[in-house]
Symmetry: D2
Subunit: 352 residues, 4 copies
């Protein structure tokens, strides 16, 4: 219940950052789908640490091993088990934290909730968990490869990529290490992150995701509205503080006469402030949404805090951490989007 | 699956705006809780149409009838069935729309998904459904009455209530018809809505919700993080386009050194940009979040659109609609918040 | 969770025997299915009390009212809400039991579990609940009307209908009040029940259910095997003590060389001890299973028992009870079978 | 959905008999429970092949590796991932079956359902899967170690152990290789199995399970009745054809005056034909039930069958198979019983 995601296409995960391995089970994946293993690994590589100068310098190969559900290159309809071994867990980087609650981490809440603390790092709360999601999402992408999912970094701190997404060339997203398809903005963002890193600090940002070629009819009212499922998925990603789709928070300032998307006779709409979803169901227009990430909590500066005995103390970040999670979160946003869409696409087949 | 909300405390609903009745089943509600029926009706009255000059002038008594699960004033542990009869459905207000897709409504997507259209109004997509949620939420509030849930209108169009919530007196929320506890802002908001209504237009807005006295430990990682569940709940409400908690989208512009909430020795934090939730689990500080509502789609102006035969046509709103949904959505936000918290509170008891 | 049945086609119910109404919500029912309301009522009539001399003489009209999800005679894809009003609840028949635990009823366990007791009769434990199931099952039958479901009384006490089901004419099931299609056996069973009733006693029995024209491929391993879902459904019916399918308990005495169903080249099998299900999935042969019902616990004789204060006392059944539940349970078995099959039939469509 | 078992304590599994590994994820297991790893392995040893002369002579070490959720010997509240590597999969034993449908196996139904066949053996349908269940069940047993679960072989073919369970010494179950605590019966059963094996045949049997020290109040009406959940669990085990609890099928022949369990003033009952469950809820008396297993389908004899091209052919069992699954199924029955009880025990805590 708590470690599962999805309705029909269901991912159940396990694993801590400093355990033997993380992994998961993908249930409900249809039989007979050819698996492109390289594409899966490619997605993991986009997420993995050490890939560029603006992300954490930890090195983890992040190699997925599929244990079941795939036979001679095709899915069999059985549950797909997989693991990713943890090869580079330097617990000693973290050992100084044994008893101290790191500010704006989950140390305190986990300790209070579970009465036990895995002090080898984030444990289950580590964003390492999202490698599991990327594996599942990569398979989901292959299942619904007629739908195009493109996420990109749309802001870092106060550096915003301000072009409308229609003017972007998504094939360029991967050509900049910050994963912003607009080169000028990308350069500014990279500079910002490097400046922040030098200060021993971290910075937040946003990711925008655009989904194209979506069939009409995905989404299940009342409580599985497509945008509610996407929101829940995005809010499950570590460090996310907000989600908006279509006109989003801007829409709250608008008038109905400005906001309504007038229909063309073919069912398309003249504008798309709805963000491709009406009444919780896709209408065939582009779906787009924006996700807010807070700055990483681990900073290379002194901070006052407390420990489990209630003593005031100081903490100074060590370890190898990201100055900004946004570039590495782009494939995670895409993966969870793919999981949601594939799930709803399967559910929709029951209606034919 | 599709018409149910919650994990343990589960609401399953049915009903269309122009059918005989709407209603639902509340499952998992503990036995032995004394039910305050007046308090339930009170919440329904906060949501119902016709309550003030700035909302729709439809009159619906919205009287709930409990059919089961309550005996001699106490819950029995059995599922609680209830209905709310539809007494004032003027289908003729809507009949002119039989075949026309209203802009930014769900007519088109429902027709395409289900191949059938209940043209008596919004059918299942009508916000009338949320009366069911208010009933369930009112019971949930009684279950967790040690937790204080206060939602209020924080903006209407470009009129923002800018005080920090700590300076507000929540007992004043109900004293203004727009449900903003700051009188000066409330007056501006009311003026704005009246101006918009006169123009035959509608306007969006935001609701802020503050939850106090939350026990530490509510929330179930990884995929039932407390804020993800709240987000999913809010995004299920009609017209919602965005959700943010704690620092939200502002947090995406901040540095870690600014954003981190430093711990006091007693486990409280000096700031609360986390919004009372860390790692998906409540930390005992106030939970607060903000919800964006788009303007109502039905406007009293001419709009071009299409019909089910793909013919271009015009539509002019009739019927009795809200110029701004936000004032009536305040109790809905509270109700869904109560449902989420009660659900997680029950789940947390399994850990003792 | 607790009052819901099914995966995709999901029934959620409420209601007590002596409350205002019972009812439910059917979720996941596809759109565009024409509803035969008479056929639904017909199924309710098969279950209702007072229909013959061998069942309880209580009179309840058991009229279902559909409140949503059906428009102009067709399902809309929205959740289907319905209620059945309780019109003839003579609480006074039961009031003498206020504080006494009736032997082999659920009074004691409910009181201990919930700490509260609805002493107006069985409350939520009453088999009246199964009227809800019959409504849902009647709709499910219409959804999968290509599949033929035939249940019948196969034994009452030690009177067994010993013909193989292949020799029976299922169209005769309804022509005997005990619902056994073999006239000679039916007569014996009726005599047995009348003899038992005169003695103020009750008697158990079994129902056999045969499902024909089942498509190959229904059933979801590992934990939603078709027979496991059927078993869970049957064991949910009041008074059921056992379930077996295909060779059942007899199969446990057999050798593999006797038990194996050899394949014909067309995929059919020469024998069918598998009972139409292999590896949890239907193989296209007839599905058949048998359900054991214990005797009704309420007897018109003196019994020693205890009350909630732990005092020894006596009880003597009053009220109008069935001497044997089996005849009225036949439509319930069919209804739950239809629910399971329709659910799996919908799930299977996701694989096309 | 399909590969998960349980409500709150949830096991999700994966793996084929001839893949790299099988395994699973246990979700909802409470934090702070000390894990007895030896006890887990002990249970696996009871299930594993090659343990005695009356079971298959395949050798598999069946060593479980826990990958997460346990830290310094205690559960952490995080999901518990585990794998069991397949070390001795002799695919060549099975290769001759590539295209042939083995009688009374799931080859045909899987092929028809999924359109793809893992011909390396049973694939996902192999009873090897149940090793996963034994791991989860062993942990569940440790969680509810105040409840005593004792399963044993109660018949093999027509050899029945006829003593009432109250006269048995459960500590002797493991002292006979057939797992029957009555030595005389055990000897007869073993002889029967050896005779059957020599004939190249297989034989069915039954397992009885007795659960003692059960707290009052486990079970969740209406659709999670304790016995329905147990039945669904047992019917999920490979080769199971029937389930009965308490009086079971015998109860269907009885009169109410014989069958009713009269209460003693302390709430215990004078008899226990209810089998410790009334209205779906445990009443504190012993729970007991019986499970029917058909004979293993693979026999060392010629059988006629068909292949995927619809050609008649012959098959002759090879490989190393069990002549009777019952002795090895005893720990599986216990494991699934433990899973169900632990799940309901956790759910019941929500009511305090």
């Amino acid at each position: 219940m708590f470690n599962s995601f999805g309705n029909i296409l269901k991912l159940t995960t396990f694993g801590e950052s400093h355990g033997i391995a993380i992994g998961g089970v993908i249930d409900g994946f249809p039989a007979g789908i050819k698996v492109d293993f390289d594409a899966v690994q490619q997605e993991l590589n986009r997420r993995k640490p050490g890939q560029s100068k603006i992300v954490t310098q930890r090195k983890e190969p992040d190699t997925v091993e599929f244990l079941s559900g795939i036979f001679e290159g095709f899915t069999t309809g059985a549950s797909i088990g997989f693991i990713i071994k943890n090869t580079n867990q330097k617990s000693k980087d973290y050992n100084h934290n044994t008893d101290v609650y790191r500010p704006s981490h989950a140390d305190y809440t986990y300790d209070k909730k579970y009465g036990i603390r895995d002090h080898r790092g984030g444990g289950r709360t580590s964003a390492r968990e999202t490698a599991n999601w990327v594996v599942a999402g990569a398979l989901a992408k292959q299942l619904i490869n007629h739908i195009k999912i493109n996420a990109f970094t749309s802001s870092v701190g106060d550096v915003f990529m301000s072009k409308p997404y229609q003017e972007l060339d998504f094939s360029k997203t991967e050509s900049t290490i910050v994963r912003c398809p607009d080169e000028a903005s990308a350069k500014e963002m990279i500079d910002k992150i490097q400046e922040i890193r030098k200060a021993g600090d971290t910075i937040g940002g946003t990711i925008t995701c655009v989904v194209q070629n979506v069939p009409v009819g995905l989404g299940e009212p009342i409580f599985q509205k497509l945008h509610a499922a996407l929101g829940q998925a995005m809010l499950s990603i570590n460090a996310v503080k907000g989600f908006e789709f279509g006109s989003g928070f801007c829409g709250a300032k608008m008038k109905g006469s400005e906001h309504n998307d007038l229909f063309n006779p073919d069912g398309t709409t003249q504008s798309n402030l709805s963000g491709g979803i009406q009444g919780g169901i896709s209408n065939g227009m582009d779906i787009y949404f924006r996700v807010a990430f807070k700055p990483v909590a681990t900073i290379m500066q002194n901070q006052t805090t407390t420990n489990s005995k209630g003593e005031a103390t100081e903490i100074h970040g060590k370890g190898r951490h990201d100055p900004c999670v946004v570039p590495r979160a782009v494939p995670i946003v895409e993966a969870m989007t793919a999981m949601v869409l594939a799930d709803f696409w399967l559910m929709n087949k029951m209606r034919k």
